[in-house]
């Protein structure tokens, strides 16, 4: 484990814990942004420059904005001192159990011991060519999905007309 990795990983995990446990929801959203940025840092460390910057552009630039807008639009009448959960221990124990299972599997597997090969040559050009040749069908499906999601989101959130 190297020092940069430890710093970024600690930041990511710490802010993720904060994002799920703070009481003020805007603080949660802001910590979540830190998690996204930390993940982008991990991607950059793994030589996935393009994906890392896309992660910042999409998550820090767009998804987090959506989330804070939604928080502001739905928050005003919530009572302040309402407990955020009824029985947290069930959920937390399920999550801890899942983590232990996964961690044991990772540590026991020989794949986990693998050391990285020298950094692969990745160019955005080949990535684009792959998108246009091998992955053209998923790309088109994705375009359709995004269009449908946009239309759907607009229609769902549109205020219903009076008298309908």
């Amino acid at each position: 484990m190297t020092l940069p990795f430890a710093i970024i990983a600690g930041l990511t995990v710490g802010s993720a814990v904060a994002a799920m446990s703070l009481r003020n929801m805007v603080h949660c959203a802001l910590s979540l942004v830190l998690t996204f940025a930390g993940l982008a840092g991990l991607y950059l460390q793994l030589n996935a420059e393009f994906v890392g910057l896309t992660q910042i552009l999409v998550y820090v630039g767009a998804v987090s904005i959506l989330i804070v807008f939604a928080i502001l639009l739905t928050r005003s009448t919530e009572p302040k001192d309402e407990p955020s959960t009824v029985t947290p221990w069930v959920g937390i124990s399920v999550a801890v159990g899942a983590f232990l299972t996964m961690a044991l599997a990772v540590l026991a597997s020989p794949v986990g011991k693998r050391i990285a090969a020298p950094a692969p040559e990745v160019s955005v050009k080949t990535l684009g060519q792959k998108l246009m040749t091998d992955y053209v069908l998923p790309l088109e499906v994705m375009a359709l999905l995004l269009t449908a999601a946009m239309l759907g989101a607009v229609i769902i959130a549109m205020r219903e007309k009076e008298g309908k």
């Binding site: 603080h27 802001l30 420059e49 910042i56 904005i65 502001l72 050009k125």
Partner: protein, 410 residues
Amino acid sequence: MAELFAKLDALPVTLKHLLLGLLPGATPEWLVAVVSAVLSITPILAVFPLMFALTTVIERKGLGRIQNRIGPNRVGIPLTDIRLFGFGQFIADGIKSLIKEDVVPRAADKVVHFLAPIALLIPVLLTYSVLPFGKNMVPLDLPQTGLLFFFAVGASTELSVFMAGWSSRNKYSLLGAMRAIAQMVSYEIPLILSALTVVMIAGTLSLPGIVESQTELKFGFLYTWHLFTPWGLVGFFLFLTAAAAEANRTPFDLPEAESEIIAGYFTEYSGFKFAIFFLAEYLGLFAMCGLGITLFLGGWLPPVKLAPFTWVPSWCWFLGKLSALIVLFIWLRGTLPRLRTDQLMGFAWKFLLPMTLINLVVAALWHLSANSIPLVARWPLCFAMLAIPYWLLGRGFEAKFTKREYRFAN
């Protein structure tokens, strides 16, 4: 003679290598990297804030002239009678903002309120790291993802604006932040799409690579700036419009419209924090202008490859073009009135977005027809393909004035 000018051009790079050479031979590798980074960062941190300081004075003087006033003309060198036409004003402003009381509202979310200006300034400064300021003068060369880095880092300023507006617990702050975010999200799409045409033609996301793609010569002396093509001309103006909106400049300065919502999202900031917001806003504008120069105006290239133009160092060309664009923005601020919110959104989605999409198609056509259609026919054809939609789309935005009737005066 030419060698001397070449040396002058490479002066910052040679200076850096000279300073790096002063390190003792036993210096560990990571320390050399750190020193090298510091040497690259220091000039940026020196030049651009100074440029910001001068711009504030020039802007106040220029706006004053436009509005038939004189503007600041008193402060010169401190403790002397030298006035320098008021160009010492920024020193006085800086001292004032440093020693003013820093007021934080009692209801404010203290931590977020404190972090917002920092979270705004850091991404703005980071965008400078990929701009090529001159030949071989790019602090961080990302050959695969330079432009994406610029946009990704630039997009994270929106969140800082939200942090500032939300944490102040002031309705004007929140309104200003909401306006700013809605505006920045909407205008980011035309901004990126208009920059995408250049990426498509140049075939690279690297900003130095994009400058390199404009080094070909036309007629033996004219550099092929992307501005000199129909899609580049239109793309540049689309880019400039979207950049003005991203940087909250008039006519798109609704987030801080002082007659409506005081100062927008930084209403509750005073003293040095206010100065940081001010600085970040101007630095963001400079970075956008720098990107526009790199993409469309040939970066650090002179317009023509003829003797007196090539003597000027490349970084002087960059700074000169940057100053010209800043003056253009000051002029626009003195000329144009502010838009209304619905006009702002309508303009982004109904005019800029279709125009950038059409521009993308025209750029592809321009590229593909390079060998089949002669230039004389290609230029008017492509330009017409852009001018007609411009006219058609623009018709919807003409003011619908009817003849005013005066019911009682007649």
